[in-house]
Structure formats: structure tokens, C-alpha cells
Symmetry: C2
Subunit: 496 residues, 2 copies
């Protein structure tokens, strides 16, 4: 096994089943993985088998962000996950969370490492980390994501490494691992440009802590990207014309500032639109490198891409990984404590572009809850970026469910990004630039520029009655009707 | 006038009336001032007189934070203020804002400097800065606050300086002015400890930009501090016992980490409680230095206090200013772009303590709006600190208006700090530690530990019906009742 370069550790190689047996009931387990990329698979599958055999085993699970079916799906199906931090996108797990079976704490991704390091979640018993290699000194070379892996290794009592031979060994060198000390010993993070490398290419780890090494070849199950539709294209057009006008007004340099883009099909489509724009020499300082960033890189538009994970669609991942050497000097994978760090985001002046579930007429954004009750995925890194961005942009199609849901509502049913954090809203209908204006002005602008035609009159009606009724209101609301659109949808299946 | 040490500028001395005449209709004016401290008074009074004489004059007003009556009160009374950024606490102005006469953009205080520098608010025509002196090179030595003054001077076309001889010349040396370059040229801010000084003792200013110097002796009108009542004392006790237990668990060092405390009587009382605690060698890294911090300093508990403003109560300000040399080496006044900067707050691991208007059972906090409609003051720096704090704490008495309003409600009527940003809630009844737990767990904890006895059963009733009705809900809500408590208060004058 030439991927294990530390002689000492070769005797730690064992089967996934044996490694899974090490994990005790009631423990806190941290794993690699950020978006379904670079998460462990063999040991979780073996853990699920223990449950099948009647073993009583429950764990609290901490990851970088979302992980694939073999971890979140399978373990929640078997009732193994008791608590879950800090983010997820899995269907099985989502149901368990919404049914109250799994206790989910939906965190800002940049904060999650701190929660672990500061001891807010208790002692971390186990780390399970997918790697492409182990260095001579026991250093762990991650695979397609870094996420919280370095902090998990630092905090865990024992470490299980999954060497995944389906991940190319050539990934080594793409990572930049840097540890932040706890206060009062924290230093500044010496990144001045998205391209700066400041750390090691591996996660330092005392070999003594490594309890097991499992060799596997199970591939990452990344998510397919939906084809780009007309709505997304229009949103991309609107975004680009907004950015052009900012350059024209002298508020942005010609090659913009480093871009961040949320995860998922809409975000992918919107960012992808830049490929056909006049912008060049772009930098990308984000959390996830997905297909659209790859397109920008291949088209020569992108100078550098910094992220915490590579999540390329199933159609393109093979080619990408087989040709990783070609891309390696233009991509940097960092810990999410660095990729999502307010210090760096503000210093670089990142332009953040994130997707909203719904926005309200005053510019508050819901990114997490369906009809105020059901958890969709989580806030992820959207807050880390939006709050510290040079310009914070939220995109959403103006309607959902074939027009039955308006994405512009009187009052969002859950607030993840408050009016103070949202500078620009983009839908397929237009752009609302909310910088510096009052709530009443925002309401008119959002309704006029962003709402769908089918809902404009209803929104105007709410706003005008609220303004009249609520004399002396900075933010006019009719509290008795604030959620009536959501209630109507729940009762009738449509907001109209 | 020995306070003006730049010979070139002595011919710029003129009356407040003449200086006020320079200000044109429809311009954007930035002034010094952060809390009613260090704001210009003579020129605003003269501006108000122009309106009295029938001059048509309207301005957009940008400050550090709240300012005194001579500026916000008088100018809003005369209809001179058209737009206002980024924070206010004045009664006249508040009414004008709520009536839609003044367009108010309520901003995170750390972001306001960026809005100005990045050109998001348009060109800044005038700066009016209160100072204690002008240096040989035209440098402006601020008085009792820094706030946004340095950025305002940097961005303004013309600068009017009010030399206030009622402010002691000995304030010189207390300020630490440091400018942050715009992206892509931003560097790290080299502060590692609350006590680090990194800049100049004056605001650098090209003498050519100084259009007028007005000499005045009008004193700051600071706000009186309400006496500490039993409720505040209990909140302070609860806070201190929480901090003690964090130290015991090894999650905080013995002398804690730098403290931030919000402004106002409740915050003052809560922080003041530390005076009688076992904690020593404390650091203060906050935005406002008020009476309680002075108490801590005098009792020897505080090593250093870093803030953007000094706002001592009318009873104590005279003694304080007359003895400023005694305090000067223990107090640093910084620009709010530095005092409230996420980079520094996270690096130092600040413990943030801010006051909520209301909290909901899931841990969302309203800091700005009364009954969802009326603006109270603004978010101020609470978001800057809470989001980047080592531990973010919100305090509120469990009821307001003699029990007629519950400060714990089913759904806050405005969200300024989302569930993702609120770690600990403290009322006089107890502490809810929300770190790492799910919304359902949070609801039970907040109701049990923080709500007032008179409202506990009503809250439990809401939560239990929501949990039953809304099967499959991560965050159980009955949307039709979410704001019913607020509606009931509006209709009947009580939430019961």
C-alpha cells in the first residue's frame, strides 16, 4: 500500500467492519465531507451493518457540511444518528430531523469549527477521515474536500482514516491546511489574495492517534446538476447587468472582486452565466467548487479558485479527477474555517451570491425553512459570506412550484438573513438594489422589480393597507395577515 | 487659539453661522458622534436657524451612531434631515422615521464605514467633526468619540471642524486612528490584544479640505443612566454564574476573554455586576465605554478598555473629564470600523452581551422593532459582535411594561439576530444555553428557564399545540397564531 508512507501505521490497516467496531455507543463522531465530496463511506456502511445485526448504537455526527447517502442516508435510516451538526441535504435525514427523531443544530459553517474547538459540543471521540494518502509523519492528505477535517483530527481522541483509492493520488498538493489557535492566542490569517497558500498539503496528525486505516474504492456520490432553464438564464443576465453597472459607476474594479457562489442548480446556473460575460481575470473565493466554476476555469475566465470542496456533477467528475493535474495549480482546497472566515471574506471584498427560498418585501431572506416549519437543508455558509461581503446578493426565481408559491412574500416565515445583511435581490424579473434605502422604499422596489406579475397586485395591496393601517411604522406590517400567504398555501395548495 | 496648531488654518476660523452657510441643500453630510458623545453642536444649531429663517435646506445625515439633541433632535424637528444612517436614539427623529418623513437605513455599525468608502451612499459632500485640537499638519484630534469620523474626513469633499473647548485638551493621546484600505488592497488589521495601539492619535486630513473651523464650548448631552433595579441585579447574577460555570468547565480562561457590552441602562447594570464578582484582569473590547466600565476600571477589575466612544452619565462626566489623564493609559478610542470589526472580534474571542427587545422560543432576537412595526433605535453594533463572538449572550427582563408584555414570545415580530447567532439568553429568571441544541430543545429550555411565570403556561400551550399540529416540523409553529400575542397587545394593551 504505497499510499501509506508512514511505516509505523501499516499495521493499523484493517477491514471497515473492524474499524467500525471501535466506535462506541453514545459517542461524538466527526467525519470529513463537505457537500457530497470527500466523506467516508466504508466505515459508515459497516456501522450500518452493526445496527442491522441488532447492535444498539447511536452517535452524534459532526461533519464539514452535507455528506452522501452512505453516511447521512444510511445511518439515519438505521436510527444511528442522534444529533447532527452543522449542515445536511439528505432526504432520509431531513425527514428524521423534521420528525424530531434527529436533533439538528443548523450552524453557520464558519462557526462549526469553533464550536468543536471551544468544547461547546463536548469531547470529540472519533474522527473518520477520507484521504488519498498518509505522509511519512502520519499527515493525512484529504481527498475532494477539506471542510472541518483538520479541526476534527485535532480535537478527536482517535482517528480512523479511509484511504480511498478511487480518488486520484494526484490530489496531493491541492490542499492548504492552516490551523487557527484558540483565543487568546489567535493570530491573523495571512491571506491577502484568493491565491495565497499559507499552510501544509496535509492534515498534521500524531500517528499515535490513528486507530485504524481502512482501504476502500467506493466513489463519492455527487449530485447531478439540473439543466439550466430560462428562468436561471434570466437571473444570470440580471446579475451580470447589475455587476456591469457597478463597474461603470466605479464601485467595482473591472475584473470584479473575488466571487462566492452558493451550492445547487440555481447558484450553478447563475454563476455559469459569467462564462458568456465580458468579465475576465476573475477570482473565486467560495466554499464549493462546482460545475459552473469548472466552466469558468476551462474558458480561461478564472485566475484562481479557492474553496473547501470539489463537487463536480457525476457526468463530469471522472474526466475532472482523471485530469486533476491540469487543474491543480488553479484550485486551492482550504478548511472551511478559512474559506468561510469573516476576516478573509471582508478583507478580500468577496461578492457573495446565494440562493433564497423566499424573500420578503423588506428584504429579509429565508434560506432554510419551508412554510416556517420544515427544515430544507440549513444556512450553510450563506451567512458567513453575506454578512461580510463587499456586496451581498441573493437570487431566487420569483415563484416556486409552477407559480403556486410566490418567492416574494409579505413576511418571510423564517429569517436567516435579516434586512441588515441583504444588499441586492435578483429574480428573473429584475434587480432590487436595497443599499442605503428605507424599508418603505425597499418594499416598492422589491415588488416592482422582483416579484412575479401574478403576485404584484396582492403584494401592493398588503403593503398599501399596512402603510395606512400602521401609522407610525418604519416597517409597515399587518401582523394578522403577515403569514396569511403561507397559511393559504398550506390549506389550499397555492398562495393565489 | 492654541488648540489650532496649524498656522495655515487659523484664517479658517469663523462663526458657526458662516460655517453652516457653506452647507448646500440636498447634500450628504457626515458628522462625528457615537452615542451622544463627540458630535458637533454649534454648526447644527446654526443650520437649524437657517431653516427658521425660511431657508429651504435638506440633508442626508451620516454619523457614527446616535448623536445628541442639537443634531438629530433639532434638525429633524426643523425638517432638515431627509435620510439618516446608520443608527439613532433620538425621540424627535424616531417619530419622523416611524412616520415615514425621514428615510432611515438601519445598518450594522461595522458596515457603515464600508458603505461610505465603497460609494454605496453616493458622494459625501461635507464632514462636520468635533475636535479638541488640530495638529501642526492639519490632523484632527477627536473629542469623546471616534466612530466613523476618520472615514467621513477621508471621503468628504470639505471638512468643517468644531473645536470644542469644553472638551479637555488632555483627551489627545487617547485615540488610535487606523485606516483600512478598500479591497483589493486591504491588509490585515494588526491588533492581537485589546490593548494594542496601531495608528495615530489624530485623524489625518489635508489642510486644503478644511473649509471652516468653529470654536464652541457647548457640552455633550449624554443620557442619564437609570438606577439599577432588582431585575437587572438578578440578570447580572445569572450572567456571572453562567460565566463562572464556563470557566469551571474549561471553556473560558480565568480572566474570561475581552468583554463587549451593549449600550443603555440594562446593559450597564448587567456589566456593572461584574464589579462584585471574582473575575479580575478583565479586558473590554466594545463600542461604548459607559458608567459600568468606568466602575470596573476604578475598582481595578479592568486592565484595558477599548471602545469607539466615551459616554459617561451627566452625573459623572465632569469628574471623569477633569481627571482624564488618570484614565488615559487604560482607555483606547478607535474608529468603529476597528472596534466593531469581525476580524478583531473573532480573533480576540470577544464575549458579547447585548440587550434584546424580545426573544422567541426558538432563540431568534428582535433588537429594533416594537410590535414588528415601529423602529426603536436600530441594530447598532449588536450584530457585529454577536455574530463573531466567542460566546454571544442576549439579555432581557422577562417582561416589559409592568408585565403587560412578555419578552419571550412565540415568534419575534422582527428578526435582527437569527437562531444561528444567539448562544445564550439571560433573563432575571435564569439562563438558556442554546449551544448545539435543536429548536425543540431550545423552546423547552427558553420557556423553562427564561420566561416569566405569568406567561410560561401560555408559551407551553403554543409550543405543544404547534408540535402536535405541525407534524414533521423542525421548528414547530402555528403560523396563524405566531403573532397573536402582539396583536392582542395592540388591541387590548396586554399580552395576557
Amino acid at each position: 500500500m504505497e499510499r501509506i508512507r508512514c511505516e509505523l501505521l501499516k499495521n493499523k490497516i484493517m477491514s471497515a467492519e473492524k474499524a467500525a467496531d471501535l466506535i462506541m455507543n453514545n459517542c461524538l463522531v466527526g467525519t470529513s465531507g463537505f457537500t457530497p465530496a470527500g466523506y467516508p463511506k466504508a466505515v459508515p456502511i459497516a456501522l450500518a451493518k452493526r445496527a442491522d445485526k441488532g447492535d444498539k448504537i447511536q452517535i452524534d455526527l459532526f461533519t464539514g457540511a452535507s455528506v452522501g447517502h452512505e453516511l447521512d442516508g444510511l445511518l439515519s435510516e438505521k436510527g444511528i444518528i442522534r444529533r447532527r451538526y452543522p449542515y445536511q441535504t439528505n432526504n432520509n435525514l431531513r425527514n428524521s430531523i423534521n420528525n424530531g427523531i434527529v436533533k439538528y443544530n443548523d450552524m453557520h459553517l464558519s462557526n462549526s469549527a469553533q464550536y468543536l474547538k471551544y468544547g461547546f459540543l463536548g469531547k470529540l471521540d472519533f474522527a473518520i477521515i477520507e484521504a488519498v494518502a498518509i505522509t511519512e509523519d502520519g499527515g493525512i492528505v484529504p481527498s475532494t474536500s477539506v471542510g472541518n477535517s483538520n479541526v476534527i483530527v485535532e480535537c478527536a481522541d482517535k482517528v480512523i482514516v479511509e484511504i480511498n483509492v478511487s480518488q486520484p493520488a494526484e490530489l496531493e498538493g491541492i490542499h492548504d491546511i492552516y490551523a487557527i489557535n484558540k483565543p487568546p492566542f489567535t493570530e491573523h490569517i495571512p491571506i491577502k489574495n484568493a491565491s495565497d497558500k499559507i499552510g501544509t498539503t496535509y492534515i498534521p496528525c500524531d500517528p499515535e492517534k490513528i486507530a485504524a486505516i481502512v482501504v476502500t474504492d467506493i466513489e463519492d456520490t455527487t449530485n447531478p446538476i439540473a439543466p439550466i432553464d430560462e428562468t436561471s438564464e434570466k437571473m444570470a443576465e440580471n446579475l451580470i447587468s447589475f455587476l456591469k453597472s457597478e463597474v461603470k459607476c466605479g464601485r467595482l474594479p473591472k475584473n470584479l472582486l473575488p466571487l462566492q457562489s452558493g451550492v445547487g442548480s440555481v447558484a450553478n446556473a447563475v454563476l455559469g452565466g459569467l462564462r458568456y460575460s465580458e468579465f475576465e481575470n476573475l477570482d473565486f473565493y467560495s466554499e464549493v467548487f462546482q460545475d459552473s466554476a469548472l466552466d469558468l476555469l476551462e474558458s480561461g475566465k478564472l485566475r484562481i479558485a479557492s474553496a473547501a470542496s470539489l463537487t463536480i456533477s457525476p457526468e463530469r467528475i471522472k474526466y475532472f479527477l482523471n485530469n486533476i493535474s491540469k487543474y491543480k495549480d488553479k484550485i486551492i482546497l482550504r478548511p472551511q474555517e478559512i474559506s468561510n472566515n469573516p476576516e478573509i471574506i471582508r478583507r478580500l471584498g468577496v461578492i457573495s451570491i446565494n440562493t433564497a427560498i423566499e424573500v420578503d418585501i423588506y428584504g429579509n431572506v429565508n434560506s432554510t425553512h419551508i412554510m416556517g416549519n420544515k427544515m430544507m437543508n440549513g444556512i450553510g455558509g450563506s451567512g458567513d459570506f453575506a454578512r461580510n461581503a463587499y456586496i451581498s446578493i441573493f437570487t431566487t426565481p420569483s415563484t416556486a412550484l409552477k407559480g403556486k408559491i410566490s418567492s416574494v412574500v409579505p413576511f418571510v416565515s423564517h429569517v436567516d438573513h435579516s434586512e441588515h445583511d441583504v444588499m441586492v435581490i435578483v429574480t428573473e424579473n429584475g434587480v432590487a438594489d436595497l443599499r442605503g434605502i428605507s424599508p418603505r422604499e425597499r418594499a416598492e422596489l422589491i415588488i416592482d422589480n422582483c416579484a412575479h406579475n401574478d403576485y404584484k397586485e396582492m403584494l401592493r395591496d398588503y403593503y398599501s393597507r399596512a402603510s395606512q393601517d400602521a401609522k407610525g411604522a418604519h416597517t409597515p406590517h399587518l401582523l394578522s395577515e403577515a403569514f396569511s400567504w403561507h397559511e393559504r398555501y398550506i390549506q389550499t395548495g397555492t398562495m393565489i
